[in-house]
């Protein structure tokens, strides 16, 4: 039977679909990163710094005076490509060492990890952070557990989380997590925290711009539209579990609405569910990180529980802890760690039911 399995070679096919699903967010990342960069330069040309990415953007001919589509793409690629290439080189380096050590074939899992990690960092992330995050992602997130398919946290998530906890000042005060270095005030959720919807309006953020992703933020996470396209592909190929995805949205909506209805709703507590969905990296994380088949529950009831937990935790941390305005990374880390526990409880229940049968 297995010798004729139609799914033979399925692993390569799944990897291809995963990368293809990340294509819309990557395109959105490039265009928006370039757009944000050139907008800031146009407002204050003196802020152009003398680093690789700025020079590359200038070298590619990206002009901030009346920028057009080409300029956005050129400036965006100047930021995105060096980061991605560096992440790939670091990932490939460690994979090669692991493969040599274990005398196994090189695994290709580092490619989507590098892409995911890059997309979860801002376009201004220092290269050292990429080296650091990617090394942790491959070694601690994947290597020590035995490689592809044996992880229990999404390695890219672990890499980003390690960067975030290791450089908390960069994450909170330095605008590392807030769009392009030095250019953007603070991220959209922090704005809402301070001044509600009016503060979003001041920064030029409306529902439409947040939907297509034309706002500052980490590279790949701003566009709900692009994330939605990727999700549609992953869902139609049945690579991610729709229940897990839906449960996350339900958890987010329910808890956000509860906070809205509570008497003293202010700051992020007053943020309606749709803003929770549109701002920050929740949608991106929900589709590409939380639905990682190896790092999420593997039973159907477990998926409902874990999904709800993620959505609820994101809102809870956003409301309760303004130093983590985005909250997606800690929430998903926590939920990933609880996945085996949730599965264990579900299976124990299943076994109990089976034990009650009379045959």
């Amino acid at each position: 039977m297995s010798a004729f399995s139609a799914a033979a070679g399925g692993q390569r096919r799944i990897r291809k679909i995963q990368l293809l699903a990340l294509l819309p967010v990557s395109i959105a990342a490039v265009v928006n990163c370039g757009y944000q960069y050139l907008s800031v330069l146009a407002a204050d040309p003196g802020r152009a710094s003398d680093d690789l990415r700025s020079n590359l953007a200038a070298g590619l001919g990206a002009s901030y005076q009346e920028p057009g589509f080409y300029d956005w793409i050129a400036a965006g690629l100047a930021h995105f490509l060096p980061m991605l290439l560096l992440a790939l080189v670091i990932g490939g380096f460690w994979e090669r060492i692991i493969a040599a050590q274990r005398k196994r074939a090189l695994e290709s899992g580092f490619i989507p990890i590098a892409l995911l990690l890059t997309l979860m960092l801002p376009g201004s992330a220092p290269f050292s952070h990429i080296v650091y995050g990617m090394s942790f992602a491959i070694l601690l997130g994947k290597g020590i557990f035995g490689g592809d398919g044996k992880t229990f946290i999404s390695p890219a998530l672990l890499g980003v989380a390690i960067v975030q906890v290791s450089f908390p000042s960069a994450a909170v005060q330095h605008p590392l997590w807030q769009g392009l270095a030095g250019y953007s005030g603070s991220d959209a959720i922090a704005r809402f925290h301070r001044g509600g919807e009016a503060a979003l309006g001041e920064a030029g953020i409306d529902l439409w711009s947040a939907f297509i992703g034309n706002i500052s933020g980490t590279l790949g996470t701003t566009s709900l539209l692009a994330v939605g396209l990727g999700a549609a592909l992953l869902l139609s190929a049945r690579i991610i579990a729709w229940r897990l995805l839906l449960a996350q949205f339900i958890g987010l909506a329910v808890v956000a609405t509860l906070f809205n209805l509570s008497g003293s709703a202010e700051g992020a507590a007053a943020m309606p569910a749709y803003w929770h969905l549109l701002l920050g990296s929740f949608a991106f994380g929900a589709v590409f990180i939380a639905c990682d088949p190896f790092a999420s529950c593997c039973t159907t009831p477990g998926r409902w529980i874990q999904g709800f937990l993620i959505g609820a935790l994101v809102v809870l941390i956003r409301v309760a802890n303004s130093t983590h305005p985005d909250a997606v990374i800690p929430a998903m880390l926590l939920a990933s760690i609880t996945a085996p526990l949730i599965d264990h409880a579900v299976i124990a229940w299943n076994i109990r039911q089976r034990g009650r049968r009379h045959v």
């Binding site: 039977m1 297995s2 010798a3 004729f4 399995s5 139609a6 799914a7 033979a8 070679g9 399925g10 692993q11 390569r12 799944i14 592809d148 398919g149 044996k150 049945r238 690579i239 991610i240 579990a241 729709w242 229940r243 088949p293 190896f294 999420s296 593997c298 039973t299 159907t300 599965d343 579900v346 299976i347 299943n350 076994i351 089976r354 034990g355 009650r356 049968r357 009379h358 045959v359």
Partner: protein
């Protein structure tokens, strides 16, 4: 009263009994190579349970007995010679359970019952918690059971009432919703309609819905509709039913259709002039649930209702280049998993050969065919049917 359907009949020159169809059976031959036997005569019995017998699927001369490792019986082949006649069995006039059971032992009909857990022939003295008659077939390309049951309805009905009497357990008649059987419901005979996907016709699904297996150590029995007709034939006419309806289908078949063939017929003979010239692979059973017959075992298996022959490209190797991938959890597995089973934990337990864990997760409810769709949907190249059987063998030894 003579049942018939409008189907082409194919005859063959060789038929066989296949050893692997009868698990846990210690074959004791009651005949020798060269013997000429009537159809329906006992050829073998189980050395440990001598009442359980296997009978000749056709009249003829015993031409070959093949044995494999540890002298395990692989096949017993018969060169068909219809002139030798048919054995007669006197149907009991008594309706008592023990008498009916004896009739089933003598005539070989007992060997078409299967237990769950494990899928063995039931012990002659065992009492099931329920008996399941599988009167539907939802596998792709399978022959439609409706006209077959309708054509031999008297036999079918007589056998159902006999099954009712051989134990105190309820008899569940699992049928398709659009095929209401003209049999009265009683407290012992209960009709239940099943519909759904390709797996709706699996006994495992019916058992899970009506009398699920837990850890209490009991068992249920199931039997396919054609074996029920065969039992009815013995009861009503005193002779074995020497026909089975099978379908031949698949992309390499010129004219896919149902056929009336002898039980145990040589598959190669059945397929003469039926196939296109392209390279093909033969699957005993339905596309996902069946498997390629082992070399030397190219005969219809017990209870087999279809042969699938798929074309394959000439350069396609039988072993895919990518081996031993990882198990990727996902919705697809849940969709094809047997009901009430969490596929990923079970598949992991099977991969590890962790029999106790697999038992807790429901392995006793399953046999190979139930997990065949998991093998198909999982990219790890594990054959969960084989892994499950390893685990079941361990569990059975521990009972």
């Amino acid at each position: 009263m003579v049942g018939s359907v409008d189907l082409e009949t194919k005859t063959v020159t060789t038929v066989a009994l296949l050893g692997p169809d009868y698990r846990r059976f210690s074959f004791e031959l009651l005949c020798e190579v060269g013997d000429e036997v009537k159809a329906g005569v006992a050829l073998m019995r189980d050395a440990r349970r001598p009442k359980v017998r296997l009978v000749a699927p056709a009249a003829g001369r015993i031409s070959r007995v093949e044995r494999g490792a540890r002298r395990k019986l692989l096949s017993l082949q018969i060169d068909v010679d219809d002139s030798l006649g048919v054995a007669r069995y006197e149907a009991p006039s008594d309706n008592e359970g023990s008498v009916l059971r004896s009739f089933m032992f003598e005539s070989g009909a007992w060997s078409s019952l299967r237990t769950r857990p494990f899928g063995n022939i039931p012990h002659p003295d065992a009492e099931p918690a329920a008996i399941f008659v599988t009167a539907l077939d939802t596998a792709p390309f399978a022959p439609d059971p409706r006209p077959i049951i309708d054509a031999w309805f008297d036999e079918f009905k007589a056998a159902v009432y006999t099954l009712e009497k051989i134990s105190a357990a309820p008899v569940y008649l699992c049928h398709a919703p659009d095929h209401p059987l003209a049999i009265e419901d009683s407290d012992r005979v209960r009709k239940v309609a099943f519909s759904g996907g390709d797996s709706a016709g699996l006994p495992g699904v019916h058992i899970n819905a009506l009398c699920p297996i837990g850890f209490a150590g009991g068992e249920v029995w199931h039997i396919g509709y054609q074996d029920v007709i065969a039992l009815g034939h013995l009861l009503l006419r005193g002779t074995p039913w020497l026909q089975r309806v099978i379908s031949i289908a698949g992309s390499a078949v010129k004219n896919p259709r149902s056929l009336l063939v002898p039980p145990g017929a040589d598959i190669d003979e059945l397929l003469v002039d039926e196939l296109t010239d392209s390279p093909n692979r033969i699957i005993a059973g339905a596309p996902i649930y069946g498997r390629a017959p082992a070399p030397g075992q190219e005969f219809l298996a017990a209870g087999q209702r279809q042969i699938t022959i798929q074309a394959r490209s000439a350069d396609e190797t039988e072993i895919p280049p990518e081996t031993a991938g990882v198990l990727i959890p996902g919705d697809r597995l849940e969709q094809v998993a047997p009901p009430g089973i969490y596929p990923v934990p079970l598949m992991r337990a099977l991969q590890l050969g962790d029999a106790e864990r697999a038992r807790e997760l429901g392995a006793l409810e399953l046999v190979e065919e139930d997990v065949a769709p998991l093998t198909h949907a999982c990219i790890s190249n594990n054959d969960y049917g084989l892994l499950l059987r390893n685990v079941l063998d361990q569990l059975e030894a521990g009972r």
